[in-house]
């Protein structure tokens, strides 16, 4: 059984996000980039399925400039077997375009399970997995917190508002991962060395027959307004007074 995992390279979760002075975008110059945390969870889940003997091959795909190769290598160090880099250069891509590119890869690879993060922490779209399922006409289970595959069926526990929902789905399917699905492992040094020798295939939008017509345009990015500094009050009376009269919460 083949698993395809789609991953995205994003601004590192721990980096303080800065907005460009012209507000055109987030400033990525010299910023640390790494794998989207939800994608990391998707890779981890695939590796666990392989370790459990459920999956036989894990293919990782990522779209972007040359730098995404590094993220693919990182996924291969976690345990993916081979990678596909879709070289889209520096073009800004909408979720639909990404889903169209991934659908072509699904068509070629015919995986039984496609794993994606539920959303990327940079654009927060939460659309790609759903669109991909629609384009491939696969059943989908989003926000997964538990995935079990047996007898050519997948049982997926989903995190829904105020509770959990359990679905049973036929293969092939699309699963998007939520935070509680697993805790990704640290990458071992010997595996980093092995990952350098794993095959990494290059594709382009042209080779996949997808045109990059972006229907979404980002107009402006604004940082959240800064929090006001706190004040020190000398005693409880002053505290109550300022909660009443300044903060107006009492």
């Amino acid at each position: 059984m083949k698993i395809l995992v789609a991953i995205k390279r994003v601004l590192d979760y721990s980096v303080k996000v800065r907005v460009k002075t012209d507000h055109s975008d987030v400033d990525l110059a010299n910023a640390k980039m790494s794998m989207n945390p939800f994608c990391e969870i998707a890779v981890e889940e695939a590796v666990r399925l392989k370790e459990a003997g459920v999956a036989s091959e894990i293919i990782v795909v990522s779209i972007g400039s040359k730098a995404v190769q590094e993220t693919i290598r990182s996924a291969m160090a976690m345990g993916a077997d081979r990678g596909i880099w879709i070289d889209s250069g520096e073009a800004a891509l909408s979720p639909l375009t990404i889903a169209q590119l991934l659908a072509k890869v699904v068509q070629a690879e015919q995986p039984s399970v496609v794993l994606l993060g539920k959303q990327a922490i940079d654009s927060d779209d939460n659309q790609t997995g759903q669109m991909l399922a629609a384009l491939c006409d696969y059943p989908q289970a989003t926000f997964a917190s538990k995935v079990t595959i047996a007898d050519s069926k997948a049982t997926v526990v989903r995190e829904v508002d105020g509770g959990l929902q359990t679905l049973q789905l036929a293969l092939p399917l699309v699963v998007t991962t939520d935070l509680r699905l697993n805790e990704p492992r640290y990458v071992k040094l010997p595996d980093i060395m092995k990952a350098k020798k794993k095959p990494l295939d290059t594709q382009t939008p042209e080779s996949l027959g997808v045109s990059l017509n972006n229907s979404v345009k980002m107009i402006k990015v604004e940082p959240p307004s800064e929090r006001k500094a706190g004040i020190m009050v000398p005693d409880v009376d002053a505290l109550i007074n300022s909660l009443k009269n300044q903060a107006k919460v009492l």
């Binding site: 979760y13 805790e183 071992k188 040094l189 060395m193 000398p234």
Partner: protein, 468 residues
């Protein structure tokens, strides 16, 4: 303290600047050394150098003693006020006064918190390299007064290396402005360096000019499983041949055990290892990463390393660091007896083995937790109090361990306090690391800058009334 003096202090400092309530006295009267009961007479919170100067002059005229106070995260009792002293807290002198882009330096007041300084540097695209677990509370004045070290010393040095200038009020009440931010200044005795690491015994630091540096790129963390003490130093040597490490730390499996258990952190890998090394380097090119991987490969082949992981993101790097940085906080509940020792890097393996032997042979019931900045030859030895033993008995045993460990340290020409300072805790052991002549010069210097010994009395050096 007599009411008349309190009144004068109140006039000087105002309502916000003087506290005598029991809670403040408890809080400001002690540091992280929990062995001493705080008993200050009052807490002064000056807002200017002039106020600090006035307080010191008042102390000299009226014969009361002062304890300079920063973030109070010290571990040697340097900021403890247990003898009715007036605590002089610099907490309200917490402004960054100037930034000089071309000099890559800043001028700040002594009460600026270390983490604020780091963040300020970051907003300027620069880097303040002194960092340690208590950076969120400790203040720069205290960092300078103890010449704080921490986790990046192997690459950037101690606080001393970052200090380009100081403003000091001496124990006499005189104002000194030292070195004025100069890089080069060959005009005789560099008094600045006397105050760095003086533990508040010579003067109170009111302002500092600090050097900022280029921010490191893509700091990447390795955690390696290590089979034995001796292998640690082999690993250091092998990696340093290939890379400039920004950190080289170690901790024992017992230390990791407590952190994993209490903080719910994931172990780096399942392969069991008695010791772990944490290495950090600037992973700024494929060649650099290759160099690290090559060094790792060699260490595996030589049997120095059992297993290892490498951070793939800043988040992972942070989490791996937490395995090391949370140790002190995690074991604090076990009333650890703490020691902070150093020897020359080349003697670390021998030293570790010998200390471990002392403790395990004679005190088999004690649990020993090892960690430290091993790349600097600096070891933190922690012995946990057995739950059944009472505190007094435990500390009595520990005093006996002290004696033996210090004799060993002395025989290797090591230091009985690598970075925590001497304060009250190590004062009576100073002679294990300093000669009688050195101590006599230290006393003479103390008397020179603080003739009435009003500043931090009995810290570092005991008051010998005959010398006054």
């Amino acid at each position: 303290m007599n009411p008349e003096i309190l009144g004068r202090l109140h006039n000087l400092l105002g309502d916000q600047g003087l506290r005598t309530d029991p809670l403040s006295c408890q809080t400001y009267g002690r540091d992280w050394t929990k062995t001493y009961e705080p008993a200050p007479s009052a807490i002064a919170l000056p807002t200017s150098t002039a106020q600090v100067q006035a307080i010191i002059q008042l102390a000299n005229q009226n014969g009361f003693k002062l304890v300079p106070s920063g973030g109070r995260t010290g571990l040697s009792g340097g900021a403890v006020a247990a003898q009715g002293e007036l605590v002089v807290s610099l907490a309200r002198m917490n402004k960054i006064l100037a930034f000089h882009a071309q000099d890559r330096s800043l001028v700040c007041e002594a009460g600026v918190i270390t983490a604020q300084l780091q963040q300020f540097a970051e907003t300027k695209g620069l880097f303040y390299p002194v960092d340690f677990a208590s950076a969120g509370s400790s203040q720069i004045g205290g960092n300078i007064a103890t010449n704080a070290g921490g986790i990046k010393v192997i690459r950037y040095g101690l606080t001393r290396q970052q200090v380009l200038g100081l403003e000091i009020v001496t124990g006499k009440g005189e104002l000194l402005k030292l070195n004025h931010g100069l890089v080069k200044n060959a005009t005789g005795y560099d008094l600045r360096h006397l105050f760095i690491g003086s533990e508040g015994t010579l003067g109170i630091i009111t302002q500092a000019t600090l050097q900022l540096l280029r921010a490191p790129e893509n700091l990447t963390v390795l955690v390696l499983g290590v089979p034995e003490f001796a292998a640690l130093m082999q690993i250091l040597q092998r990696f340093q041949a290939n890379l400039d490490l920004t950190a080289f730390e170690f901790f024992s499996d017992r230390a990791l055990h407590y952190v994993v258990q209490d903080k719910g952190l994931a172990k780096p890998f399942v392969t069991p290892a008695p010791y772990y090394a944490l290495l950090e380097f600037e992973n700024d090119s494929a060649q650099r990463e290759q160099a690290a991987l090559q060094a790792f490969q060699d260490c595996i082949e030589q049997g120095f390393v059992l297993d290892g992981v490498m951070s793939q993101s800043q988040t992972q790097a942070k989490n791996l660091w937490r395995l090391r940085e949370m140790i002190s906080e995690t074991i604090a509940v076990y009333t650890p007896y703490k020691n902070d020792l150093s020897v020359r890097v080349s003697l670390v393996a021998e030293f570790l083995k010998a200390v471990d032997q002392i403790v395990t042979e004679r005190y088999a019931a004690f649990e020993v937790i090892w960690y430290g900045h091993i790349g600097d030859g600096n070891l933190h030895l922690n012995i946990l109090k057995p739950a059944t033993m009472d505190k007094a008995e435990f500390f009595e045993h520990c005093a006996a361990v002290n004696e033996q460990v210090f004799v060993l340290t002395q025989s290797l020409q090591g230091s009985i306090s690598a970075e925590h300072g001497v304060g009250l805790l190590k004062r009576d052991y100073l002679a294990y690391s300093r000669s009688a002549e050195e101590i006599a010069y230290m006393r003479a210097l103390k008397t020179l800058f603080d003739p009435h010994w009003v500043l931090n009395p009995n810290k570092l050096l005991s008051i010998d009334t005959s010398s006054l």
